[in-house]
Symmetry: C2
Subunit: 334 residues, 2 copies
DNA sequence: TTGTATGCGTTATCAC
DNA sequence: GTGATAACGCATACAA
């Protein structure tokens, strides 16, 4: 079967292309009669709109790009999935770009997305502040950032979980359940979210009259997993009274748990543990892992809504949306 | 800054648009001198190709669609990630469509992808055989299937893990390590991969002179997790000699493990357990979970290569590529 | 209410 | 080697 164009439809229906276009987009005026006629022909022929042409003409692509560091990560995957769904419902298709945390790939993707003329951009996480130089095109591509601080806040909307709150509450939970020497375990990274979580931890200590001292309360883990056992062992040797750990993410928490299991440190009786992200794996460990759950649904809804607002030029810029997190208590803090 | 078009470049460089196009695409003839001149102007202006126009003109979109049931599933996420990477390297961008296992959404996505004029399609998993009616357009969109049987094999290339081999080896491992009464645990589903895995299990029994009897060797689990405990309890009550379970996927295996833990069935000493998929979670359970790992890298490489072959009309159709799996042995089968 | 004509940015065909 | 120009399929300003 041939691919019908608007022209063919016009010819068959005995009207002009303009009329067909008007009927299709329900835009402009036409009689009920011609409407029916045109629609019938479209039905009969199985006409399908050529979006490429439409995009060219309208200078709009009805597609938006998502920059994400690693889509096989559960949190990211969930957010992306929900974003994709909301956006599809609004008529947008989604180009997902897996940057693998490489700045070079990120730039390559941005070039590609610009060339494709995406209508908007969603930037999820990533180490350094996001900067997008959309001088170089007259059409400023609007973007929103999730969990990644934009360099120029005035240009965008920043959506983030309340990492501070999560860390604060997690730490308080440790203390409430009897921990006298709580510790935060983290990599030596400086993403905004990590900083916020550290701050929350510190403030929870302060509130409970514990003076934060790095070598007593901060367990820094090497980026290389292979060094974890050493890191942990030497820290515990120096700090034998540790009885609670707030791990800055579940991945680290799971590693810690495995370590403790191996070295016969009983969790939670000797030492309580709480993570961040509420990964699936935490539900299957022994003991099951307490964690801080980010509200991915809310995050993605806000992001989609905010971006569409910017695209339609009806949303306010320079905003920051903070999404609350919830504590999920399981066996590791009993 | 304005968005320069090929026309502007031509004007500035003092040549015709045709020449600029030739230089950009390195296609046709032009002097070295004009090449330099044009390239310089492009550099200076920051000209960026408008792919929408190019696509319209060439009737090619350099984008391909991926249909996937659930991207937050680790196996799928990994495959998608690797596909996206290979395809991007070849100059294609990827539109990922999360069908949520809904046939309706699948159809909606297919319509959208057709409208966008994707050059190809990758279909991952899903319950029923995949059928894509590309009559309705003159441009047959080529597609490959991963782990999902195509209805019309002649149209496509089918890539799949060797589920049979995985199930066979997993079962043999149970028997080899001493199980006398191995069982397969699965939902009552009829996807091709499930059938293959069941077949592998049965054949392994046969090879070891065990006669497969449904009510003795097949633990059917309800789709609703809430019913799992009942399902398991009643099956074990009827079959108290069970000492090994091959679970058709890790998700089920994890649930089983949790159940056994709760009911003081010691794994692996009383009962050995092996899953399928090698999910991350299996590395953190107690005991750690043995599993069958699918080679996602190989799968996605084959899929990308096969699809690009079809797009460039140089690949043979009607093929089936079987990717071997590997047994990952951990504590649950010790 | 409808039709005609133009242009979106590109590639490709032809002529020079 | 290079340039003029016709498409690609659509939306829209303007005319009728």
């Amino acid at each position: 079967m041939k691919n019908y164009s608007i022209k063919d439809i016009a010819a068959i229906a005995g009207v002009s292309v303009a009329t067909v276009s008007r009927v299709i987009n329900d835009n402009g005026r036409f009689s009920e009669e011609t409407r029916k006629k045109v629609l019938q022909v479209i039905e009969d022929t199985g006409y399908k709109m050529n979006y490429t042409a439409k995009n060219l003409r309208m200078n709009k692509s009805f597609s938006i790009g998502i920059l994400v560091p690693d889509i096989s990560n559960y949190f990211f995957a969930t957010v992306v999935q929900q974003l994709e769904e909301s956006l599809f419902d609004k008529g947008y298709s989604t180009i997902i770009c897996n940057t693998s945390r490489s700045l070079e790939k990120e730039r390559a993707y941005l070039r590609m997305l610009e060339g494709k003329g995406v209508d908007g951009l969603i930037v999820i996480s990533g180490a350094e502040a996001f900067e997008f130089d959309s001088s170089g095109s007259d059409k400023k591509i609007p973007y929103v950032c999730i969990d990644r601080e934009p360099k120029i806040k005035a240009d965008t909307i920043f959506i983030s979980s309340n990492h501070y709150q999560g860390a604060f509450e997690a730490t308080e939970e440790l203390i409430r359940s009897g921990c006298l020497h709580p510790v935060i375990a983290m990599h030596n990274q400086k993403s905004t979210s990590a900083k916020e979580r550290l701050k929350g931890f510190k403030d929870a200590l302060k509130k409970n009259n514990i003076v934060f001292v790095s070598h007593k309360h901060l367990l820094t883990l090497s980026l290389d997993e292979a060094h974890f056992p050493q890191n942990i062992a030497s820290f515990l040797a120096e700090n034998p009274t540790v009885d609670g750990i707030f791990s800055i993410n579940d991945l680290i928490a799971l590693q810690l748990l495995a370590y403790f299991q191996k070295h016969d440190v009983s969790v939670p009786s000797q030492l309580k543990l709480i993570g961040f992200d509420d990964t699936i794996s935490g539900q299957y460990t022994t003991p099951t892992l307490s964690s801080v759950r980010q509200n991915t649904t809310l995050i993605s809804e806000h992001a989609a809504e905010a971006l569409l607002g910017l695209i339609n030029k009806e949303g306010a810029l320079n905003r920051e949306i903070m999404v609350p997190v919830t504590l999920v208590l399981r066996e590791s803090t009993r």
